[in-house]
Amino acid sequence: MSFEIPDDCRYLESHEWARTENGTVRVGITDFAQDELGDVVFVELPEVGDAVGIEDAFGVIESIKAVSDIYAPVSGTVTGANETLIDEPELVNEDPYGDGWMIELDPDDEADLEDLLSPEEYREQIE
């Protein structure tokens, strides 16, 4: 099976992706992660304004068969949470790098992103 691993993201070993747009870091889970979880039915996300630390569990994702924590790729302040997922958690399965995003962060230090896995490194991890 081949999983989508976009070139414009960085990755955590725990299968989160991070993408920087205009100084904001958007975070979600990878195509591989959504496939492993199966049908996502519930997502619990932090509030805007919450502080998250690097590799802290900031939320919970539940599929029909499993519960999984979601980890922050960098530390920062939450500036957005994808409220659409409350009613449409299946977006995580359908579009993990697009409409299925989880949170947006104002990073404490944007340079922390460089410590994350590159697309190539992440591909090696899951293959």
Binding site: G38, D39, V41, F42, V60, E62, S63, I64, K65, V67, I86, N93
Partner: protein
Amino acid sequence: MSLRTPPVPHDTKTTDFGGWEMPVEFDSIRTEHEAVRERVGKFDVSHMGEITVSGPDAERLLQRLTTSDVGALDPSESQYAAITDEHGIMLDDTIVYRLPADQDEAYLFIPNAGHDEEMYDRWVDHRDEWGLDATVTNRTEEYAMFAIQGPDSPDLLGAETNVDLSELSRMDVVSGTVAGTDSLVARTGYTGEQGFEVLVPWDEGGTVWDALDCQPCGLGARDTLRLEMGFLLSGQDFDPEEEPRNPFEAGIGFAVKLDTEFVGRAALAGVNVEGPEEKFVGVRLEERGVPRHGYEVQNTDGERIGHLTSGTMSPTLGEPIGLGYLPAEYAGEERSVRVLIRDEPKKAHTTAPRFLP
């Protein structure tokens, strides 16, 4: 210890279930679940045990080791039963088939995955202790077992078998062919839908599986389908070590025939008089969240009153549902409770274990 594998190689995600490496999902649990509720799906359940019992005392042996009335079975009939210890605690649940007269063996019963060796030993030990004349054979790895379930299952299976499925009543079992292979065809299942289970020789498993042209389903959908019906899962909703329960607590008193003689009967007669202190109930969450095995259930004052043994997001209802044990007064009517999810009490109410009409 290496996992036992079913006769058909499935190229999909698998899980260890009762010591067997079994498919957990083929497409998605939701897709598979919906196929069974609306059309038809097939399950490889070759991890279920098969033990045959024959000989002059076969009926007596089965009668004394299961809670149902084996003597009431005519050939080609089957019944659901619990297997209890002397305290009335459930060791497993099973279907006991009285096989059609054209079969070499008299009875076949189906222990759950991973229980076949334990149940074989139990049967043999009691046979010897009681001096009964019966031949007990563990045929778990001689039979592949497939379930074909859903409203379209008669058409789907009907096209592949010489059995007139319209003649088959619920719990009937007959001999016939499926995809040209000698089989046992039973109108049984674990989904709440119309459906069938077929037992075929292990080596013919692949031929039969491939001939059944419908949605393949894994253990994930099997679990959500049975959960919506409030059917017990052995080893999870009851377990002699982790969740010791008697059949009255577990809501299967209908499978206990106290006028027959069986191990556990005296204890269960007492429970029947006094009534169980706790009962198996359904719980519906009124807030967002997913109830799971092991979650604590509280009353509205925040006091612990029980726990869940199973739970999921119901694909059919689109709502979170759970099963578990609560004080008996919570069964039978809708009562407000709380389910503790990650230390947060979530509003919920009790229901019958069966969630679908």
